[in-house]
Amino acid sequence: MMAALIALHSEQLMNLHRLAPEVVLCFFGILIMAVDPFIRASGKRVLGWMALIGALTALASVHILVHYPGTAYSNLIRVDSFSVFVHVIILVAAVLAILGSLDYLDREGIQRGEYYALVLFAVAGMGILAGANELVTAFIGLEMSSISSYVLVGFRRRALASNEASMKYFLLGSFATAFFLYGIAMVYGVTGTTRIDAVQSALEQIVAGQGRLPALAILGLALIFVGLGFKVVVAPFQVYAPDVYEGAPTPVTALLASAPKAATFALMLRIFYIAFGSAGNLWFWAIWVSAVLTMFIGNLAALVQTNVKRMLAYSSIAHAGYILVAFAAFSEAGAAAVLFYLAAYVLMKVGAFLVVAHAGQQGEKRLAIQDYAGLGSKQPLLAACFSLFLLSLLGLPATGGFLGKFFAFQAALEGRDRWLVLLVVIAAINSVIGAYYYLRVIVVMYFQAGSKDYTPSPVAPAVAVALFIAAAGTLYLGILPAPILNFAKAAAASLSLR
C-alpha cells in the first residue's frame, strides 16, 4: 500500500504537482459550472467569491511549483523559476480582475456563473502557456485562453460594441492561432520535434552543419511570430486591439490587456530565446522593426483618443513596444527586464482599467476623457489611484513603470549595439509622447471642474481592495524593486540561454 502510494507519488502525483495552479483553476471552474444551476439569479455573486477563492488558491499553489522544479508529462511542461514568476503575474492579474468584476457584473446586470468559470479557464490556459516546454502544448494553452476570452469579450450581450468586439476578436484570433499552428508544423518539418529544447539543439546542429537556417524554419518562425504577435498586440498585428478592448466589459479588458500578454511574452521568450536562439540575428530585425512600429502606432494613436478606454488600449500597444525593446536585447538581462516590466505593467494596467470600469458607471456611458472632469475633488482617492497608474504608465520615477522602462533600456544598452541604442532612443522619445496623453487625463481630473449635477457612485469595497493592491504594488515595485528584480533575474537565469 505504502509502496504503491509512493510510486504514485513519484509518477502521477509529481506530474500533477507541476500543474498545480492549472488543476486548481480548472477544478474551481468546473465547480462553479456545476453549482451555478442551483443558485438563484439574485445570488450569483457567490460564484464570484468562489472564483476569487479559486484564483487565490491557485496563487497559493504556485508554492508547490517552487518545491517541484523539473519537467512533467514527459517534458511537455517545464517548471522553473521562469514559469513560477509568470504564474504569479498571471494569477495576481486574475485576482484583481475578479475583484473588479463582482460589482461590475451586478451593475451591468450580467452577473452569471459562466463568466467566472471562463475567467478561470482562460487563466488556466495562460498558466499552461507560461509553463509549456512543447509547442503543441503551448497551442492548447493558447486556445484555452483564447476561446474563453472570445466569449468573455462578448459578455455584455446587449451592448452592440461588445458583440462586435467578440466577433472581431474571434475571427482574427482564429486566424492568428492558425498561423501559430502552421508555424509549429513547419518547425516540426525541419526539426522533427516540437519540444522547445529539442528544437534548439536540432536547429543548432543544422546551423553548425549548413551554416544557416533552412528557409522552412525561418518561415515557421515568422508564422509563429504572427500568431504570438497578435496575442501580445504588437504592430503590425495590433489593428483589432483597440476595438476589442473598447467593446469588452472593462474588467475583461483589464484581464485581457495584462495576463495573456504576460503569458504569451513568456512563451515568446522560450521560443525566440531558446528554440530559435541560433537565429538571434535573424529575428532581431523582426523584433526591432515591430518594436519601433508598435511604439509609434500605440503612442501616436493614443494622442488623439477622446475615450479613456480606447486611449488605454492604445497605451497597452505602446507598452508592448517597450517590452520588445527589452526583448530585442537577447540576453539574460533582457529576459529579466521583460519579466520585471510585465510585473509592473500588469499591476498598473489592471489598476487603470478597473478605475475606468468604475468611473464608466452603468452601461459604461462615461468613458470620454471629459467625463473625468472634477474627479479629483469628487473622489480624491480614486483619482489619486488613477493618477498613480497613469504616472506609472508614463514612467515616472518611484513607480514600477519607471523601473520597468529603466531595466528594459539598461538591458538593451548593455549590448552596445548601435541599433539597440537607436531603439532605446526611439523608445525614450516615445515615452515623452506618451506623457502628453497620460497627463491630459490628470489635467482633466484635477484642473477642470466637473458638472455639479453628477455624483459618481461610491467605490465598492472589492474594487477598493483591488485598487489598493495594484497601487501598493506599483509603488513597491518602484521604490523597493530589489526582491522582485532578483526573482526576475533568477527566473531569466532558469531559462538557461546558451
Partner: protein, 540 residues
Amino acid sequence: MGTQSHLLTVITFLPLLSVAALLLLRSDDHVWIRRIALAASLAEFVVSLLLLPGFSAATAKYQFQEYHGWIGDAIHYHLGVDGISLFLVLLTTFLTPLAILCSWESIRENVKGFFIALLVIETAMIGVFVSLDLFLFFVFWELTLIPMYFMIGMWGHERRIYAAVKFILYTMFGSILMLVAILWLYGRAGTFDLPEIQGMLQSGQIAFSPRTEMLMFLAFFLAFAIKVPLFPLHTWLPDAHTEAPTAGSVILAGVMLKLGTYGILRFCLPLFPASAHRAAPTIAVLAIIGIVYGALVATVQHDLKRLVAYTSVSHLGFVVLGIFAFNTISIQGAIYQMLNHGVSTGALFLGVGMLYDRRHTHEIKEYGGLATPMPVLMSFFLFIALSSLALPPLNGFVGEFLILIGTFQNHHAWASWATSGAVLSAIYLLWAYQRVALGEVTVEKNKTLADASTRERVILATMALAIIFMGVASPLFTRRMEVSTNAMLEQMKDQMGAAQEASRPAALPCLSPAQRAAVIQTQAPGQPALATVPERQVAP
C-alpha cells in the same frame, strides 16, 4: 565610507515626513494646515543650518556622506554635499518657508494639497542637490516635476493648463535623453555611483571616443539647458512663471532653475570635460544671446510678472557663461549668482505676488504711483530691484562681478558682451519700478490700497536682510566653495590629460592588453584621439 551621518537623509526627507502629518489633518482645517506646513519648513531650515558647523571648507571631498545598497549591486542610496551643493540646499530650505508664508492668504482652494505639493517639491529638490548616485539623482530630478505641474495647473492663473503641460513636456523631453545617457554611462562603468565613475574616468579606466563623449555630454546638457533655461530652449519659462501661483514662481525661479546649472556643474563638466571645452564657445554665445535677449524682451513687457520671468533668462545666462569660462573665479561667481538669483528673483516674485493679491492683475499700466499709497512695500520693491540689477554692495553685484572678472581673464569678448546685459538690467528694472511706483496714482482703485501687512513685512524684511548679508559677507560663502571649485577644475584638466594619455596606447604600459584594446576600440578610426583644447581656454 567612514562614519556615516544621517543629517542629509533627515534634511531630505523631513518635508516628506511633514506631508504625512498634513495628510492626517482634515482638509478644511486651513489654520492648522498652514501652521504645520510653516513650522515644518522652519524646522527644516534650522536643521539644514546644522550643515554649516560640520562642513569643512578645507576639503573638496563630499561631506556628510551616506551610502547604502539599494537596488542590485549598481544602484546605491548615496548622499553627500560639497562646496557646490551646500548652499543650494540652504537656499532651498530658506526659500520654502517664505513660499509658504506668501501663500498664507492667497491660496484658498485645496489648501492641503497646495502645501503638500510645496513640501514634496522641497524634498525632491534637496534630493537632487545631495544625490551622488546617478539613478537616485534621476529619481529626484523627475520627482520635482509632478508637484510643480500640479502647482501650476491647479493654483495658477488663466492659462495655467497650457503652461503646466508645456513646462512638463519640455522638461521631460530633456530628461529622458539624459536617462539614456546615464544608462550608457552605466554600461561602461558598471555603476551609477558618481564618485566612482569620476574616479574611473580620471584614472583612464574608462574612456570614450570624442564622438561618444560629445553625444553623452549633449544628452546631459540638453536636460540641464532646458531647465536653466538656455536661450533657444527658454520658451516654457515665461509661461510657467507667469501662470504659476506666487509660491510656485518663487520656487521655480528661486531653486528649480538652479537644478539645471547645478547639473551642468556636477555632471557635464566633471564627466565630459573635453566635450565641455569643445562646446564652450557655442554655449557661451548662446548664454550671451540669452543675457541680451532676455534683457531686451524684459524691457518691453507690459506684464510685470512676465518681465520678472524674462530677467531669469538674462541672469541665468550669466551663470552659464561663468561656468563655461572654466575659471575658478567665474565658476565661484556662477554658484554665487545662482544663490543671488534665488534670493533676488524670489523676492521680486514675492513682491509681484503681493501686488497681485491686492489688484489681481499683472498689467503694469494698471499700476502707477503706488509709492504714495504703499510706501513700505514699494521701498522694499526698489531695494530688491537694486539687488537684482547688481548694485554694489548688494548681493547681485558680487556674483555678476565675479563672473565678469573671471570670464574676462580668459575671454575678453565674452565678458564685454555680457556686460551689456548688466547695463540693460538697470534699464528694465528701474523703468518697471518707475512705471509701477512713481508719479501720480492713475487708477482710482490704487489710491486705497493697503500697505504691506505684518506678514508681508516679515517676508520682505527677511529677503532684504539676506540680500544685504550676501552682499557684504560674501567671503563666508565663497570660502566654502573655493576648494570644491578648484578641485573640479583640476580634475577636469587631469581627466583630459588622462584621456589623452589613454588615447596613446603605447604610453600606457600599465594597461592590460584587453584594456588597451578597449581603449583603442573606443576611438573612431581616422580621428584624432581627443580634440586638443586650445591653450587659451584652459583655466589658469
